[in-house]
């Protein structure tokens, strides 16, 4: 299991680095799928088979498909890639990377300060998860349901193809070019 964890972690990190450095959206998406699959493997190695499966189905499956749909609908191809290449000069990377490295250093220091222990590696079965979900977290589940509902309605509303539409408060301003 340990080996599985290290291999998949390595793949996950590598794939993620690839995601954020790609110019072609579709390439990035595919790398992301790889990253998610690797994370699913990590979950499995941590003894969480249920979420490993969900990760594959929902993240790597459903959500990524949405992205792909959008990429297809907007017809993002070489043109976008060229543009990305233009935008992503090494200079752009410098600042964020520095900041993030500092943050990473601090996080690691914080983590190592605490007395972390080894994981037991035993499986938490889906049954326990289900009992917990429909027991103490029932209300949270309900709320998640609301959230998803709102997401669907919102997406449906926003996604409608309409003419340029502004709120009435902003209308006055926008009529003046």
């Amino acid at each position: 299991m340990q080996l599985l964890f290290y291999i998949s972690s390595f793949i996950a990190l590598l794939a993620t680095v690839m995601v954020i450095t790609r110019y072609q959206p579709i390439h990035a998406l595919l790398y992301l799928v790889v990253s998610f699959l690797a994370v699913a493997m990590i979950f499995l190695s941590l003894g969480a088979p249920f979420v490993a499966v969900l990760e594959v189905i929902i993240y790597a499956g459903a959500i990524m498909v949405l992205f792909i749909f959008v990429v297809m609908m907007l017809n993002l191809d070489k043109e976008t890639a060229a543009q990305e290449r233009k935008w992503l000069t090494p200079k752009v990377w410098l600042g964020p990377s520095l900041l993030v490295l500092v943050l990473l250093g601090e996080m690691i220091v914080l983590l190592l300060k605490g007395n972390g222990s080894a994981l037991p590696g035993t499986t938490v079965p889906p049954r326990a998860v289900a009992l917990s979900l429909y027991g103490p977290y029932l209300i949270a589940v309900e709320l998640a349901g609301f959230l998803l509902m709102a997401g669907i309605v919102g997406a449906a509303h926003i996604g409608q193809h309409k003419k340029k539409h502004l709120h009435r408060f902003l209308e006055e301003k926008s009529t003046i070019p």
């Binding site: 959206p25 959500i63 994981l119």
Partner: protein
């Protein structure tokens, strides 16, 4: 079988999270920013699962489920917005969208 140290998992999660953050900070394309956000969410989920695994409790996985639900809702709305933005502004450059700036 050698057990995995909890800190290792958390460091992996942190690195994933920060990679996502770098993505958000560097990319100008909204689509890539959304991808990076997905990475960050996923990393957070990983930390939860690791914690659940450490304490042998299902709560970590439950939290991951909620994150999943939230990510799904977020992505659907965000992608709808991306479509609209692309229709209205004919670009996905986030720096072109500065309607909220203080004039």
């Amino acid at each position: 079988m050698m057990p995995v140290h909890a800190n290792t998992v958390l460091i992996v999660a942190a690195v994933l999270f920060l990679l996502g953050l770098v993505g958000v900070l560097t990319r100008k394309n909204i689509l890539f920013m959304l991808l990076s956000i997905e990475i960050m969410l996923n990393a957070a989920g990983l930390a939860f699962v690791a914690a659940g695994s450490k304490w042998q409790q299902p709560d970590g996985q439950v939290m991951f489920l909620f994150i999943l639900a939230m990510a799904a809702a977020e992505v659907s709305v965000a992608l709808a917005l991306v479509l609209q933005i692309y229709h209205q502004y004919k670009t996905l450059d986030v720096d072109a969208l500065k309607e909220l700036r203080d004039k």
